[in-house]
Homo-oligomer: 402 residues x 2
DNA sequence: CTACTTATTTTACAAAGAAAATAAACTTGT
DNA sequence: ACAAGTTTATTTTCTTTGTAAAATAAGTAG
């Protein structure tokens, strides 16, 4: 059996401290009195809490605000630059490593290739590469965390990699291995879900509590943000939409089924389809050898009918999946990420067609569909994981003590 | 902008009192020391809270438990029978009214027909009929609430009916009209979602935190329970899966699209399909005139191939929708409700086929699919709405004061 | 009858937030 | 320039809540 949230006294302090830190972080320069209004805590409590945060160096007093008729308010801001962390991202055959500070500015970046698929070998390489990276790029500022994002299912709480499409991880305790080595808080997560959270904190979905990010690259997956948090079930995140059956008579998917979303909506599927049409002799500005996703988008933007048609069909199909997400989650914004968004207008118009037909009218009119903001930076997701840990108090308390 | 949960002192008491009440209600006869263990509150705190609950008559001391080597523990239970409420359900052309007590036993029931589709007229009828029902069946025990469930979208917090398929409600403030008349707490909700919650509290999904109920009757809709609560977005519930496009080349749906789930999975769709096959001359144990959902299920169970095939196909199609729900929500149990479950084995085997192919393996092996427990009683959903209000503290506090 | 267990209650206390009082910084009217 | 009034920030005082520890109650086992 289970019990729901019980509140004891210690927890109150933790929750409220985290809430105040979060407000200062999100709402930039803000006075104590404004914090009190927004948090519904008494001014006295805000003073108590901010005193502690000031003492530990997590926030600072900055300029005074203009007077509104009396004593001028003192603005508070979070300190970002002194807090650095490592964000790594394990893609298909690729390991990206970055050094960030909390402001979100990337101090250094490196990309390496990964040959092995064996969990132990890959883990070893990750540790070696990050070690070398730190050696080379990190100065003497304190590191507060190491994050790793990857495609696949991750049990976030236990730091276990349940499953990955590109490597042979199966219920592999990657988190504890990294923790053992670095003696730092480790944050592990699915890459799409982490990117969705990054868009929520810093990107295109900053202004809304409920959003979804659909990532179309090697495959298709979704990250769903509900109430400002990644939607999770029993400590593992969900959002694997790539194998929704979109057409019972469709193409064979590598998973063994017919007509999965990924058989139409993925870079490889798009490339294959264009190649096929060219080989059938349709007039196209690309030769079969030139076909790749970037070229296709460029050609479509230039007016190439074949490429345009394929991308539009892809958009329509994606729209059917997005309509399902809208009906089930009713997000304010749906963001699409991936190389296809170089042909933004073509894809979006296809998506809109399907959504306007298939999503509930009451929901559809509330939902904006647009391109994601962070298309290029695969390690950006780690930043969100660190922010989240600060905002929910778990990492914040560790920094308060030290 | 928004702020997340802030905890102030008042709230602590409310949350913990509700949590203790919920534990006593769910875990039947239970001692204070067991409550302390399960709630992680100190024994002294449990004593304080239970004292209050005892004083207001919400719980009572029952038998002592057997000794485990020392003083025998005193069992506590919630009091159910003295608390009665009215549960109404507005279906297509039908109004069901029941009198329940908190134990879930139905004291009286009445079914009436509804002719009008006009919101004001329907509201007037509901009030008149409930008044007459109370007059006839209710004795002098206190009524603590009135609930109304219906198909359509309901904004639970504001008591507004956003949309209904069978009546012309559009953003209609039904809740406040009822509240004005009855001067009692009113709980309004979508019927499928309320039934899903009832299954969670009292039925087939009692033992799990995450479940889904799929209702197949006039249409198809889902109720999704996450963490023991109805999954909601900005105060309105979601789960309208009836218009997921399941086949881009499928039949025309009344919503104007092709191949919606409801064009295959609904009582009417099944009946039409069987009728069509019979008219085409296939040998069937039913005549076209005899066709209705109950007869079809019975014939299928007796081995009729036409009926069996249609139901199996319906199951397979439903399975595709359920696979989506499983991939997105990862519930422990999926319950199916509706007349089709009279042919339980046939439908479930079809569902299982699709799910085993299309749901993620990691999720599918954790998910049980079975028939819902409360198939017959349309007002059962209201019971869950009242329970929820007691368990989350909102209704509990009103009863504590009085 | 004594020693030991277990359950519950009482007492004393610590921590957090609320309310009121005070201090500080500024604006405005004279 | 200066008093009066505002607005913000902080401090003090008080109430509430939960908890630890001690006390009490009610059993068991030998």
């Amino acid at each position: 059996m289970y019990h729901k949230q019980i509140v004891n006294v210690d927890r109150v302090k933790q929750v409220n401290t985290a809430a105040i830190y979060r407000l200062i972080d999100l709402q930039g320069p803000i006075s104590r009195i404004q914090l009190s209004e927004q948090s519904q805590l008494a001014p006295a409590s805000v003073t108590k809490i901010t005193r502690q945060l000031l003492a530990s160096g997590l926030i600072q007093e900055v300029a005074q605000q203009a007077s509104t008729g009396g004593r001028r308010a003192i603005s508070l801001m979070t300190l970002q630059r002194p807090y650095q962390f490592i964000s790594a991202r394990l893609g298909r055959g690729v390991l990206d490593i970055s050094l960030y500070d909390l402001s979100g500015s990337q101090q250094a970046h490196q990309q390496l290739s990964v040959q092995s698929k064996d969990p132990n070998e890959v883990t070893e390489q990750i540790i070696e590469d990050i070690d070398a990276f730190i050696e080379q790029y990190h100065d003497n500022q304190p590191l507060i965390a190491v994050t790793l994002t990857l495609s696949g299912l991750v049990a976030t709480a236990s730091g276990t990699v349940v499953y990955t499409p590109h490597y042979e991880f199966r219920d592999f305790a990657l988190g504890s291995k990294l923790e053992e080595h670095y003696k730092l808080p480790i944050f592990l997560g699915n890459d799409t879900r982490a990117m969705a959270l990054s868009e929520h904190y810093f990107g295109a979905s900053q202004d809304c509590l409920d959003s979804a990010l659909i990532s179309v690259r090697n495959g298709t997956s979704a990250g769903i943000i509900i109430g400002g948090e990644v939607f999770m079930r029993q400590h593992r995140d969900v959002g694997e939409i790539g194998h929704i059956q979109i057409d019972p008579l469709g193409e064979l998917c590598q998973c063994g089924n017919l007509g999965c979303l990924e058989t139409v909506v993925s870079n490889k599927a798009i490339e294959n389809r264009v190649r096929k049409i060219i080989e059938q002799g349709s007039p196209c500005s690309l030769s079969a050898a030139q076909v790749n996703i970037n070229a296709i988008c460029h050609a479509a933007n230039m007016g190439d009918q074949v490429c345009k048609q394929v991308l539009q069909h892809c958009g329509q199909t994606l729209g059917r999946a997005i309509a399902i997400v809208i009906n089930l989650f009713n997000p304010e914004k749906v963001l699409i990420s991936g190389e296809i968004m170089q042909a933004n207008d073509i894809v979006i118009s296809g998506v809109q067609q399907s959504v306007s037909h298939q999503a509930l009218a009451a929901f559809e009119r509330d939902t904006t569909i647009q391109a994601a903001q962070f298309q290029q930076n695969p390690t950006m997701g780690g930043l969100a994981l660190v922010k989240r840990a600060l905002h929910d108090g778990s990492l914040l308390l560790q920094l308060l003590d030290s």
